[in-house]
Symmetry: D2
Subunit: 474 residues, 4 copies
Amino acid sequence: MEQIENVLAQRYASEKMKEIWSPRGRILLERDLWIAVLKAQKDLGLPIDDDVIPAYEKVRDTVNLQSIKDREKITRHDVKSRIEEFCELAGKEHIHKGMTSRDLTENVEQLQVYKALELTRSKAVAALVKLAEKADFYRHRIITARTHNVAAQPTTLGKRIAMFGQELLLALENLDRVIANYPVRGIKGAVGTQLDQLTLFNGDSGKVKLLEEKIVGHLGIGRSLNAVGQVYPRSLDHHVVSALYQLSSGPSSFAKTLRIMAGNETASEGFAKGQVGSSAMPHKMNSRSCERVNGFHLILNGYLNMVAGLAGDQWNEGDVSCSVVRRVALPDSFYAIDGMFETFLTVLNQMTIFPAVIERENTHYFPFLSSTTIMMEAVKKGAGRETAHEAIKEHAVATVHDLRNGVIDSNDLLDRLAADDRLGLTMDELKQILSRGEELVGAASAQVDAFMAEAEKWKTAYPEAAGYDPGNIL
Amino acid sequence: MEQIENVLAQRYASEKMKEIWSPRGRILLERDLWIAVLKAQKDLGLPIDDDVIPAYEKVRDTVNLQSIKDREKITRHDVKSRIEEFCELAGKEHIHKGMTSRDLTENVEQLQVYKALELTRSKAVAALVKLAEKADFYRHRIITARTHNVAAQPTTLGKRIAMFGQELLLALENLDRVIANYPVRGIKGAVGTQLDQLTLFNGDSGKVKLLEEKIVGHLGIGRSLNAVGQVYPRSLDHHVVSALYQLSSGPSSFAKTLRIMAGNETASEGFAKGQVGSSAMPHKMNSRSCERVNGFHLILNGYLNMVAGLAGDQWNEGDVSCSVVRRVALPDSFYAIDGMFETFLTVLNQMTIFPAVIERENTHYFPFLSSTTIMMEAVKKGAGRETAHEAIKEHAVATVHDLRNGVIDSNDLLDRLAADDRLGLTMDELKQILSRGEELVGAASAQVDAFMAEAEKWKTAYPEAAGYDPGNIL
Amino acid sequence: MEQIENVLAQRYASEKMKEIWSPRGRILLERDLWIAVLKAQKDLGLPIDDDVIPAYEKVRDTVNLQSIKDREKITRHDVKSRIEEFCELAGKEHIHKGMTSRDLTENVEQLQVYKALELTRSKAVAALVKLAEKADFYRHRIITARTHNVAAQPTTLGKRIAMFGQELLLALENLDRVIANYPVRGIKGAVGTQLDQLTLFNGDSGKVKLLEEKIVGHLGIGRSLNAVGQVYPRSLDHHVVSALYQLSSGPSSFAKTLRIMAGNETASEGFAKGQVGSSAMPHKMNSRSCERVNGFHLILNGYLNMVAGLAGDQWNEGDVSCSVVRRVALPDSFYAIDGMFETFLTVLNQMTIFPAVIERENTHYFPFLSSTTIMMEAVKKGAGRETAHEAIKEHAVATVHDLRNGVIDSNDLLDRLAADDRLGLTMDELKQILSRGEELVGAASAQVDAFMAEAEKWKTAYPEAAGYDPGNIL
Amino acid sequence: MEQIENVLAQRYASEKMKEIWSPRGRILLERDLWIAVLKAQKDLGLPIDDDVIPAYEKVRDTVNLQSIKDREKITRHDVKSRIEEFCELAGKEHIHKGMTSRDLTENVEQLQVYKALELTRSKAVAALVKLAEKADFYRHRIITARTHNVAAQPTTLGKRIAMFGQELLLALENLDRVIANYPVRGIKGAVGTQLDQLTLFNGDSGKVKLLEEKIVGHLGIGRSLNAVGQVYPRSLDHHVVSALYQLSSGPSSFAKTLRIMAGNETASEGFAKGQVGSSAMPHKMNSRSCERVNGFHLILNGYLNMVAGLAGDQWNEGDVSCSVVRRVALPDSFYAIDGMFETFLTVLNQMTIFPAVIERENTHYFPFLSSTTIMMEAVKKGAGRETAHEAIKEHAVATVHDLRNGVIDSNDLLDRLAADDRLGLTMDELKQILSRGEELVGAASAQVDAFMAEAEKWKTAYPEAAGYDPGNIL
């Protein structure tokens, strides 16, 4: 029967992410680990000839999955078959000394997690930088801010984008800390006591300690754990997937808001180049990609719940009720976050706004939103405060009433206010108050600047990531 | 009708945690915020007389809930009634200037979270230090390590405790980073543009920026957010509750393992002083507290799932679909983690072990677990490797068979081996091999030392926390 | 220190729901169970004088919590103190014979669940009936249906309401099945073997079987379980809370859609009588209650996740890692669903629509949505199909373009089409096509009828529930 | 790059389950739907020649995935390419009339769910029947029942198995109701108003209603929904996955308990034929499959959480934020439950018990568990009740103390009691009391009978399912 494919990987994830979690990718990381252990063992005095490590390094990338499968049919042992394959390719027999299966699998899975975290960070940086560009680009575009989905005060689109960028920034900072503090289990033996490595080094615990340090150094991971059992604590997986979930929160909120804006026709996630809307419904630009971003966010919460079930459920030195769960939840979480960023970056690249519609919305709401300012100006011109308040309230309520009941088609509050002697304001004066939109958006621009400065730091730190362009999405 | 109480708070949480989240506690934090804002505003040149702030500070702790309720009946506005109460007590009218309701509520709720995080950290430090003491105390107690719940290799109880302590340590380090990087929303106005504070300072954005810095300084929180909407990003709540969940993972794994050990009668969570077991079932020491620790862990995952539903669901500048959720999930998460630590600390204080039963278990399993060493010794004495391997395997399989089928009552593998000429080992020699238990536990002791050193750092940093003793639990 | 209240119960739930889960309510159910057991035991020949049961029944409602607490201080046993209280009130000593603590607590908690399910069903029926009324009321109100939040085809508001009603209907049918099939654990003894009841009836297993049947009959629950351990299977709790979550889904989707409609000003959740909008922002009718409905939905998912952690985690004949979880999740789930329905019913009572705004929306979109029909009419009048298609597409795309770019302020597609000779349609003919809105909504009205018929069945079955009016909500 | 496979499908699920969800399987169900619609349309008078439907039916199974892909490259539309392929194979052009894409995809996905539910039911029946066989087989095997993982009372292994079977039985009954009441969306058009079908039948709503009834009849599903939007309510997916989660709860509890029993060596999940334990550790029979059952249970909870995020989140007539989530969660849930049953059935087939170890456990605990009976016998022989109670308590506490402190190696309580004049019982009399084990297990056997009777009903209803044997698992 046909092979059932992993939908998240095949439809949404990038090649790089698939490489990390693919059978081939895993074998490469296993070989990296074996080589790192060999180097450390040699450094610490185990008799390993100088040509051994280069021999393995030379064939590191020669991965023949079929050959390994053929070996497994004979040995009936997957780790063994990989050892044999690698050794035969290298023409040496030195790897896996003093190691148990878990010494290989735990650390390699952690390497996969670590590499995938790094790749994810680079995507997050790309998204952050893109958000900063957009925030800058739209910094003067005044829009009607909404709370409870109802018009509240003016703001700018740039500020709104910076707001969602701020959420991503927090999550990225956290991700960076997760990476910086990520500890590998290390070479600890069957129950975590390092018995086999100690035996290899004749009980010299100092050397065993050094061995660990050297291995993590070779692998490029910052630290290793001290007291573990057969496995590393599964709450670490929860910690990782939780960081991914946090990471998709800002984009998810952005996507929801863009879906709402599309419903008001103030903005759209846009189309791919060359794509056109339905001829029957030329107005119908569906927010399919934004909906997908929201979908990935839910998916991540599902995987988070899976690994949550593993945390705090270690029996004694460990069991493998986690095995099938991690086999699914770890790669699939990373495929999901990767697909999320591919989609989100595409949305950022293609989103468009409709300034005329935005203007219409502003014109509709700003007379209401400016009523406090209008009152203050009326008072300045000599009106009594209570009188002015009462007059404005009367007219505003009546205007809303008439708009909603079809008596009028557009907001004529200014006309009504200009015609009311109690306020003493002319139409010109009223229009001028409303035209001071830039003042009404407060620190919006300064916040965009501050956000851009933060994004710039990340761009500087990861210049290559910042320039990443997403692949073509479905 | 009688008031329905919050079970988590009333049955399990400590007074200090309840104080933070109680109506009274919340009012105190509101007042702290108002005073912090006043101080910042005064520093920045707003005309506030020197006696104003002291007047408020003096009455900060005078909380009369009934009086506030009475005011609310008249004003129909909860925040307003609290402003009036505080002002009347102080005999001043200066607080809440340029602030909207969210400027108060968001920041105060974050202060509650922050204080609760600090309190939780102190409990976690206490637990860590206690685990280190226990790990040290049991460092020489050799036990049978289990993987898949089946005997695997020797280890020590001290090492096993350090292993769970290691998981707690990771979570505590993470919690500490969460606290260190926790940002408050700050005084940002209705849609996050700081319009009202800017108006107060006549458009001087530099002063508004300084205002924020000063407030967070007064409050003792490290940083404030830049671009926000009506609310701070709700993924921050997820970040916090996720850290709590991670924090309960090590204790939860410990508790599960102790429940399993109790089933084998190798250990028990103990009894409170004076308590005795059932006379009808004197052997029945139920692991009720350990079960409860596991229960709290599940509860935290439920609250995590609640706040997960808020993250990534911000519409525009914010809505309040989060309101009822946060009202429940935030305090209740902290009551749960607090109850968890109270229970866990009690378990650590009262746990007992049964050395004789542990010895019986070791005696039962160690002959099997030592078979590799026995083989090596036989080879040293001249036996062929394959011959020795075959002989040992034969006897081991037969011994297990006879034990499980009732042919024998205790493990007699050594007798069988001593009687087999192929191995050439006497009973004395075999017994000597098994008696070298300390060697078989590898780096167990060194790992306990390393764990203790880590715990010591936290004890030094938080000496008061380290000495905390839990209250009496139900 | 002040008692911390249960927020869900005290702020949102109804008195009836609180009564079920309150300490007093629990004691009443305990007494119901004891009396049911007594009756069954007497029926089956145990020597219980005729005046015994009436004596207990007479004092069933006399609940003195303080007196029970005082007893507990002496006995140190909560169940015992309640037995004594009830016996002293009745002047008899016959209850709890052959029962263990779990025989009481498991069944009483199930009774609480059962009563709460029934109460919830009545609220769901009330909501269903109200939805049917609203669907009928708005059956001719043509609105612009949206998919992807973008205008798609005409429908009616009545049909939209019926659509959400359909979802509630499915959930209500399921809830009804959950209630109909809900099994109680029964009187099964410490490990589920009924040892104590068997002893009481001298080993007569037939009588023990009858005893169970009689008890469930007295209690009004349909069935009891056969083989259980100390506890009933915890997946049953998951089954129950899952049904509650499904139940809140229709209301939650309705609430989200109303929040979106409020953003377009086509509808509003309305205000309580006497309440007025902000004078500064008279247009600002926040969807606070709808947001709250969405919040309750998330809360229920959190509790579902808690009880999910209990299902499938029974060790042997049972443990109590479930204890603290169920103490929180069971009552709080029911408070949440109850608060959800109170809020939802209020929204249904108070919601208003703005026909003029709806009309403006229809006018804006219907020319696009009718393009297929227009083409068909043009063809009828003699235009070539491809020519007509091309002409309409040209004008539609241009119209959308001009609207979004501010060239025009309102949809003038009809003008453009009327002016295009290729189509041969006059403005009158075009207007007539658009005026046939009722035809364009297809089976909307028939679906409303069908939905109303279903709701009517429930109204007939539960006439009292159907007339329920919610209490005042915050 | 190599294709990433779906781990759940490829490693754990059965061929039948993969067939349902495979690209090929989906195409077959699409064709079934198209044919069902054709039949209904013909029945209702649409002009469809008699040879049309047979022409389609004849080629229904001719699925050429490559050919469809090639078409898609040209049409750029997946549904269209499948229509063309099917039509060309049949040599007719009649399918998909009056249908929109969602009319196809929603219903086909529901058909997949429905078929998968049926397949799952058959596996559940197989497991239930196997549990009944095992319960019968072990009905006389007396074991020590445990609560809190501590010995509590005697029971039988048969009863324990029936207890977990009872949980599965409840879940199976529920699943059966889910299937019986499962409604399909039906042919409802783009926004659910059936506009296109009504047009096809010239506005004859009666015929459109009949059409739906006929289609569901042809498909074998019981009912269709009335008022829907673009999509069916997503809470229905939650309802389905929730039933799967409930279904895995009994097996999961069974698996946990077997893992605990394996730790005590009273039972084992066994080995596959031919497989042998490690020679170095012949006692080490890891509960890998039981752990996997527990893992699948967690996985299902993760998918449940994903679909929970879709329920109650429908905007207007529908959006597709659900799309990517359902693409993952629906098939993968069914792969998981399928893999769970394959594994669980294997465990049931291969599990073994160790009677001698069970006996040793009973001998160790029964003297304690029987103390109440012993007291009653002593009283019968003339001892004072209080005196007897005191004597037994003294000896029991002392025995436990001596056992746990290594003073004695086996439970000698009977010796102590026989030697105490206060009781007046001889060793023979005491032994006789303990030998009445069958009495001490109460209604265990009757409960096994009752459980078997229930299982028999399902076996009769689904004889083929009952005989199912799992495939070879990894």
